[in-house]
């Protein structure tokens, strides 16, 4: 790198992928500026809770906390929170980026740009048949997770009681032609099963029914984990995605209409609570950003990999669904590629 071009690498997005990419580039002595639109770093992954049961279930939530702590102690990485990109000019390793922070516009030069814009959870009200947003006791897995993380307990939103019988509906917003999401979000099966195991560990009296299409594996120890789930008497696996959730306006109890292949009939089963395993969609704000940077979308609707050699990189789940583990690995590998690009100029 020549001196006159010792501009920092600009990382857009302060979620787990952006944080790891910044930390890794810093380890290689590359100056970095990390931009986050929210008031604090961490993004979506920082809102997950530990999903250990008797043993660690490899959810990687603790790794996010550790990386957040690492970057908060790292004063040499410039971190701009509450800042948004408003314009990009220049090209090929010498970008001029306009930033808006608290109403003030400033300009920043960047040697390379890493987009780690992240994802949004699928907006569950889009699947009207499940009644999210209308029926009180239909929640998303994220809502349930935040109950556990921030309130330390699970409860029915209607009456605050512990639900005894919970249905987990998979593939909400994934693998679904009716809403145009023709991809698997890759994380929800393992995610929901870990959540079930963690809840069953904390409340052994709670029973869970897992309603799914195909169970998607997640990494090296998934086989043993899945076997443990299958052996757990409190977890019922039914290969069927329900057609509708009904509720009683008096008791707020729920009935779920599904095809039960075990019994060979369509049934309406009562549940205290329904949890929707919402999939991933590209973060809303990533689209205008992609326009500014001249990035396209791939056929699944995530950010396409930019042409190599122009100093723009895409990392983490905004490039396609990834769990925390794979987002971190991807961010690390992106850091190596960025460094290589800077050296090769």
């Amino acid at each position: 790198m020549t001196d006159e071009n010792n501009h920092p690498v600009l990382i857009i997005g302060g979620g787990i992928s952006g944080i790891v990419c910044a930390l890794e580039l810093y380890r290689l002595g590359v100056p970095v500026t990390l931009i986050e639109k929210e008031a604090s770093l961490g993004g979506l992954a920082a809102r997950f809770c530990c999903k250990a049961s008797e043993a660690c279930n490899k959810c990687f939530a603790c790794v996010v906390d550790k990386k957040l702590k690492e970057i908060s102690e790292q004063s040499q990485i410039s971190q701009l929170t509450g800042a948004e990109i408003t314009g990009v000019a220049g090209d090929q390793g010498s970008y001029k980026v306009s930033l808006a922070k608290a109403g003030k516009v400033s300009e920043l030069e960047a040697a390379a740009i890493v987009v780690a814009a992240g994802i949004d959870p699928y907006e569950a009200s889009g699947k009207g048949e499940y009644g999210y947003g209308v029926i009180k006791n239909v929640v998303t897995a994220r809502d349930l997770e935040e109950m556990l993380r921030f309130q330390g307990k699970i409860y029915r939103p209607s009456d605050g009681k512990l639900p005894q019988n919970i249905a987990f509906i998979q593939c909400v917003g994934s693998r679904d032609e009716s809403i145009g999401n023709l991809y698997c979000s890759q994380v929800c099966c393992a995610y929901a099963l870990r959540l079930i195991r963690a809840i069953r560990h904390k409340y052994p009296e709670v029973n869970a029914t897992f309603l799914y299409m195909d169970i998607q594996p997640a990494g090296a120890s998934f086989h043993d984990f899945l076997n443990a789930c299958r052996e757990d008497k409190g977890i019922r696996f039914i290969r069927s995605l329900p057609s509708r959730v009904y509720h009683s306006p008096v008791t707020e109890d729920l009935r779920v209409r599904l095809a039960d292949t075990e019994r060979g009939e369509v049934v309406e089963e009562p549940f205290d609570m329904v949890v929707l395993s919402v999939g991933m969609v590209l973060k809303k704000e990533a689209k205008p950003l992609a326009n500014l940077l001249g990035l396209g979308l791939n056929e699944e609707g995530f950010l396409a990999s930019p042409a190599p050699g122009n100093g723009i990189f895409v990392t983490g789940a905004c490039a396609g669904p990834k769990d925390i583990d794979r987002s971190i690995t991807h961010a690390k590998s992106t850091a190596a590629l960025v460094h290589n690009y800077l050296n090769g100029r």
């Binding site: 043993d224 060979g264 583990d325 590998s333 190596a336």
Partner: protein, 436 residues
């Protein structure tokens, strides 16, 4: 009751110089990718490949599921780059016989198939030995029941001609998934990828699976494409029954798409060929390698990180990294992402040319050591050895093997110590302290 665990000490352990030299064990796709990337950064790389060719398991692949390129051409180009690079040495028929020393001072003894021996002193070692595949045993005689890699080969060789097996035309093919390896998505990816090609060549293909593992970029679309082309998909809870039927194999499976049990019929798929993906297993030679390198293995003998969450791609020994199928079989894109993560870790380690121990580091007080080897055996990071000293209390270079001055004591290598404190807790003589 908590005791004060750390002692503070004025003198920090000395920094260790690291030369940009890396040894990679395994010349598969992960090993050669790591080699190419590190060599670009000016690192001297040695690849020790036990076989006579580079490429590993990817040599059995002919088609990507997500792009039209030919796998062997892509692999060949990559191998050419690696074999032509000035700062990459490829040793074929090579086996690691010994690995002594620690980070920055590794001494690796490699024996090649011609019986030649080479000693290397790499700063870091990357283990990318891959895994082995075993043909799945579906039927006793095995005829007409082939592995996924044989099907790839058949299709690659048939080019534009109709598919034939042992001179006979192939009209119907059934893929059976999930008899083993229910946590590996490679089988689903390969089956759907090959099903699309076969269907396009005029065959009727069925895929029978417990769970279709489409959790890879683009797979749901490929699955839809396959159904659009007429590939039949059946899901089972109980594995299908196979029997010989005329010249082919009959695969019997209940049709679970019919809800009412009494109306559910058993479908019989008459198949010219049945394809069952090979089972992935840890390489027995990797087991031997782990003994030589003092590396930890996990379930089924696969290599395992010291801490799969916090210390991803890092082994239980500092300076030794793992990636690819020796850890867990994944699709190519995922293995390559791991390979690049290893590149990043190695670059970060070598950056600046020195390693300064940062953790709390254990230290043995030599006069108190009874040389019982408890700490040596218990250390999960192979950081402790027994060294000879010239005299009690004298922490100097090991003395000559001279009866008068020989004194032994355990010594923790600060570069290799993770500061876990196991040795401190277990030392019967209370001779070990953690220093911050």
């Amino acid at each position: 009751m908590y005791q004060k665990v750390y002692e503070s000490k004025a003198t920090a352990p000395a920094p260790i110089n690291l030369k940009p030299e890396v040894l990679i064990i395994g010349g598969g796709i992960v090993g050669i990718t790591v080699a190419r990337e590190l060599a670009r950064e000016g690192v001297q790389v040695v690849i020790a490949e036990k076989g006579e060719t580079l490429g590993g398991g990817v040599r059995d692949l002919h088609f990507f599921y997500d792009r039209p390129a030919a796998v062997q051409k892509w692999l060949g180009d990559l191998i050419e780059v690696v074999e032509g690079a000035g700062n990459i040495t490829v040793l074929k028929g090579a086996k690691l016989k010994r690995l002594d020393g620690q980070l920055g001072r590794f001494q690796a003894l490699i024996r090649t198939s011609e019986g030649r021996e080479r000693t290397l002193s790499p700063s870091a070692v990357v283990v990318a030995t891959g895994c082995i595949t075993r043909p799945a045993e579906a039927m006793s005689d095995g005829g007409r029941c082939i592995g996924s890699s044989e099907m790839e080969k058949l299709l690659a060789e048939s080019r534009d001609l109709p598919v034939a097996w042992k001179g006979q035309p192939v009209k119907t093919v059934t893929f059976i998934l999930d008899r083993t390896d229910d946590d590996i998505k490679i089988h689903t990816v390969n089956a759907i990828k090959l099903a699309v090609i076969l269907q396009e060549k005029g065959c009727q293909v069925a895929v029978v699976a417990r769970d279709l593992k489409v959790s890879a970029s683009g797979m749901e679309l490929l699955y839809r494409q396959a159904r659009g082309k007429g590939v039949l998909f059946f899901k089972y809870d109980e594995p299908p029954v196979l029997s010989h039927s005329g010249d082919g194999i009959s695969v019997e499976i209940p049709d679970m798409t019919v809800l009412r049990k009494e109306e559910r019929e058993t479908v019989s798929l008459l198949s010219d060929l049945v394809v069952i993906g090979e089972t992935f297993a840890a390489d027995p030679e990797t087991q031997e390698l782990c003994r030589v390198m003092k590396l930890r293995t996990g379930a089924g003998g696969a290599l395992m990180e010291d801490n799969p969450q916090f210390l991803r791609v890092m082994s239980n020994r500092r300076g030794i990294f793992l990636a690819g199928a020796c850890r867990f079989p994944q699709i190519i894109a995922e293995s390559l992402s791991e390979a690049h993560a290893v590149v990043q870790e190695v670059k970060a380690l070598l950056h600046g040319g020195v390693y300064t121990p940062v953790n709390p580091v254990a230290e043995v007080d030599p006069p108190k050591c009874a040389v019982c080897y408890t700490c040596v055996r218990l250390c999960p990071h192979a950081a402790i050895g027994v060294e000879r000293y010239g005299d009690r209390n004298v922490y100097s270079a090991p003395a000559e093997k001279n009866g008068d001055t020989l004194w032994q004591a355990a010594r923790v290598d600060p570069a290799a110590c993770f500061g876990c404190g196991i040795c401190v807790a277990e030392c019967p003589a209370r001779a070990i302290t953690l220093y911050q």
